[in-house]
């Protein structure tokens, strides 16, 4: 199963799909699964050389949010062609397990 992340490009210097692939390097340290497979990335928007990500977390108030946000920004800015990375933490819609890929579900013991 693939993710439902919305990919938007406006005069993009780099394909949004490449940016999404790069975000697979950001791992939730509690679950050990990357944020893309967990379905935490709602949108990747690339405008010129700027990449913006809308991200949620599995639990509101998660104490790890600062670290995950920092990792996402670092990943965005490490993508060749991206000059500026930014992230918005959003809670609407709330995360559900249906957002996860099959691999993530298997890892959490769903199957």
């Amino acid at each position: 199963m693939t993710t439902n992340t919305v990919l938007t490009e406006v005069g993009a210097a780099v394909p949004a799909r490449n940016v999404l692939e790069a975000l697979k390097a950001v791992i939730d340290p509690e679950l050990g699964i990357d944020v893309v497979n967990l379905g935490l990335v709602y949108e990747v928007r690339v405008t010129g050389g700027s990449a913006h990500v809308e991200l949620t977390l599995t639990t509101p108030g998660c104490p790890l949010h600062a670290s995950i946000e920092a990792q996402v920004v670092a990943c965005l800015e490490a993508v060749p062609g991206v000059d500026d990375g930014s992230v918005d933490l959003v809670w609407d819609p709330p995360w559900t397990p249906m957002s996860m890929t099959d691999e993530a579900k298997r890892q959490l013991g769903f199957f």
Binding site: P29, E30, G32, A70, Q71, A74, G109
Partner: protein, 433 residues
């Protein structure tokens, strides 16, 4: 070695980390002491050694870990900065020195000066901690019943030690005894039910939901548990005050029986709530410390059985060592991992060198040793109290020593791997191409 940064919102991480390590160390000391003096739980439970060990466990293990957690958790739960962040530098050392003096005062034959000085220090320290939590909650009022329950539990913790100080005063001065009586049951009920059980109900609801990815569900059981806990303390207070006011003894007995009934409701509510959280969980495989927290709840019905067979002391031991001990131990490892990880890697921005997973900070093989040791220890201690068996007491002490030593090693491992950044990833993170 890289020292941790101050985590945003809470106190400097060195404070909670040292309190958590201190709590783990205290349990090892208590278990070693029990091994040297097993008759403390197989003999007269009002003996100096028995009372000293009880206070070592409740103050220097459970409350010290609570106090350490309070340096960070309220800021996370209430989503605000902790008020008077630096006050922990006063409260934690004051509490530890007071509790050590208190334990020594009990162990050396109830020395009034040590009990007064130690008890006074503990009361002041927890008074400041409670005021800090209340001030933080005033700035950002709790929005859910679990957060409100945690704030309430901290207030009961302060009340419990204040009642303990009054009890010590009543035992050394007839004047104090005339004024306040001997509020032993009220002191114990406020501590075990008001502070510890409510604290586990409230913080456990939040933490178990987070660690097990348990979504949604009604909150009425948490609300009910808080209301029932207030009822338990109020009825216990009525039972304690009735003889002083010259009210009929029947009233005191009825209040006392009603309080016990409400305690069983709180316990049943928590038992059902944990089951409901687990049924709603998205994470099917729980981590070992979380399993230990869940296992703790098996001691609730055991305590009920002990009570039904007429041994209140055995019921109290099952509640304290089994339920409270295992629940605190489970959360200790998880909270410490979060705390140290957030401090060391919270702002990591190096895409080429991602931080370790939380589970890579601990040694997996230690977890079953901790769980087996502490569980067997709590079961054997309950049996020792029930039967007066010295063999069961020795078994309890040995098992507790093994479990608590493994726990201390685990705690030190987490701290050293984080501060020294010497983790070795034991597992590969899951991702797809």
């Amino acid at each position: 070695m890289t020292l941790p940064r101050a985590a945003s919102g809470g106190a400097h991480p060195l404070l909670p980390v040292s309190a958590l390590v201190g709590g783990a160390l205290a349990l090892v000391a208590g278990a070693a002491w029990l091994l040297a003096e097993p008759q403390a739980i197989s003999g007269f439970v009002g003996s100096p050694g028995s009372v000293a060990l009880t206070h070592l466990f409740t103050l220097l293990f459970v409350t010290l870990i609570y106090l350490g957690t309070l340096q960070q958790l309220p800021a996370v739960l209430l989503v605000t900065d902790l008020e008077w962040r630096a006050s922990g530098w006063v409260t934690v050392p004051l509490f530890v020195s007071g509790a050590v003096l208190l334990v020594w005062g009990f162990a050396s034959g109830f020395r009034p000066i040590a009990l007064a000085a130690g008890g006074g220090a503990v009361v002041v320290a927890l008074g400041i901690a409670a005021a800090q939590v209340l001030a933080t909650a005033r700035k950002s009022p709790p929005k859910d019943p679990a957060s409100r329950g945690l704030v309430t539990a901290v207030c009961y913790m302060f009340l419990a030690v204040t009642l303990g100080l009054l009890l010590a005063g009543a035992r050394s001065s007839p004047l104090v005894a005339t004024a306040v009586g001997y509020p032993a049951t009220l002191h114990q009920t406020t501590g075990i039910i008001g502070a510890f059980m409510l604290g586990i109900v409230a913080s456990g609801h939040k933490l178990l939901s987070m660690f097990a990815l348990s979504k949604g569900g009604p909150l009425w059981r948490v609300r009910a548990a808080i209301a029932l806990t207030h009822g338990v303390v109020a009825l216990s207070a009525l039972a304690a005050v009735a003889p002083l006011a010259g009210w009929p003894p029947t009233l005191s007995r009825i209040a006392s029986d009603a309080a016990i009934l409400l305690v069983s409701f709180v316990a049943a509510m928590q038992f059902i709530e944990v089951g409901a959280l687990l049924r709603r969980r998205l994470r099917r495989r729980l981590e070992a410390p979380v399993e230990r927290y869940v296992l703790a709840h098996a001691f609730l019905p055991l305590a009920g059985v002990m009570f039904a067979v007429g041994s209140q002391t055995a019921a109290a031991v099952a509640l304290l060592l089994g339920f409270v001990g295992l629940a605190v131990s489970g959360m200790l490892v998880k909270i410490l991992s979060f705390l140290t990880w957030t401090s060391a890697f919270g702002a990591a921005r190096d895409a080429a060198a991602p931080p370790p997973l939380l589970k890579d900070l601990s040694r997996a093989w230690l977890e079953p040793v901790i769980t087996a040791g502490l569980t067997l220890g709590a079961l054997a201690a309950t049996l020792a109290i029930l039967t007066g068996s010295l063999l069961a007491a020795r078994l309890a002490a040995s098992a507790l020593l093994v479990g608590s030593s493994a726990q201390l090693l685990q705690v030190l491992t987490v701290v050293m791997r984080t501060l020294g950044r010497q983790w070795r990833p034991a597992s590969t993170a899951v991702t797809t191409k």
